[in-house]
Symmetry: C2
Subunit: 202 residues, 2 copies
């Protein structure tokens, strides 16, 4: 996997959820079509009359997620940018998504405004495999923010974490280590370590 493949997966799923935050700090969530994917950029549109439009023009932070039929989940956190030349973009979007004409026939399409997400962090999470598999990518050049847990040098090698891990993704060593690609981030190792040698990442 890589960032572009993750975006293509969102386009294949097509109807994915977009979460935004309103000016009172409340979360909102709805299914939106992924309209176009180009070179690590995701395009979508929404109508100027919708609460969603107000929310993302006031606060561009957005969290997108989708799941395919193989139980592979994509999560994308980034900032939306409203596009210049909206009519050109809306025409391109309708050309690539002709079913949009059923909802917005004729010139009514121009009530829609186009947006792009070309930054932020993507997580790929495969729940269809055992052990589970996860990978993180950036759409831009920033460093990937890590989550989950790390075993420190305080580890005494007692195997408690290894015994408790539901995904068997902890290996012995000095110190023991978590196979991060297979970790659920459930916290069982963290809660059960008798010497508190396990720390949160990020």
């Amino acid at each position: 996997m890589n960032a572009q493949a993750c975006l293509q997966m969102l386009r294949m799923i097509k109807d994915v959820s977009f979460a935004s935050v309103d000016k009172e700090g409340m979360p909102h969530n709805r299914m939106i079509d992924v309209m176009l994917i180009e070179d690590k950029k995701l395009y979508f549109c929404t109508a100027r009359g919708k609460d969603f439009y107000d929310q993302i023009t006031q606060n561009p932070h957005i969290a997108i997620t989708g799941l395919n039929t193989d139980f592979q989940m994509i999560r994308l956190h980034g900032k939306v940018k409203q596009l210049n030349n909206p009519k050109v973009w809306i025409d391109r979007i309708f050309e690539a998504n002709p079913v949009m004409n059923d909802v917005y026939p004729g010139d009514s399409r121009y009530i829609l405004e186009p947006f792009v997400v070309d930054n932020g962090q993507i997580e790929f999470f495969d729940l269809g495999k055992h052990p589970i598999d996860r990978q993180s990518f950036r759409l831009d050049q920033e460093v990937v923010q890590q989550h989950g847990f790390l075993i420190s040098d305080a580890c005494i090698g007692c195997r408690t974490c290894m015994r408790n891990c539901p995904q068997q993704c902890i290996q012995s060593g000095t110190p023991y280590f978590i196979e991060q690609d297979h970790c659920l981030h459930c916290g069982l190792c963290y809660e059960n370590c008798p010497v508190h040698a396990i720390d949160r990442r990020g």
Copy 2:
């Protein structure tokens, strides 16, 4: 449709997206299984090690959305409540969702904490019909908050709104009126009314 039927639809979709807000006010979004539905209550669980657990125990406001294969979308905004007697609830959840044992075998299930959503507003939005169809419900006794647009008595009956509506859901009258169940909330009527007779609701 009613509130309970909407929750049952989320259970049928099963993997639906849950949006939360972290302590910096940023949105997060991921797919979560709807585990149980009972008398206008939705149950789910998450592991104590996950960022999601921290987010919803610090800020219980959540926005859930899912889409079925008929392009019917459910949106639910409410507050989560953490449940007492977590082991009893987790055992009930695993009994109803035996596939959970593949991810959390044996006693590792008890790293999960059970939550319920028994309040808030639900929106049903059917994009598979023409014109589209939408309805709102409450899970508790509060009044449904209305969105979209209303035509006021300032209407001069010029038909501009009716001509512009992509869903043909504006009817003549004194004043003209919007068939709210079929409205996209796109804002074309609002933007084009020559006498500004159309107001936002809610």
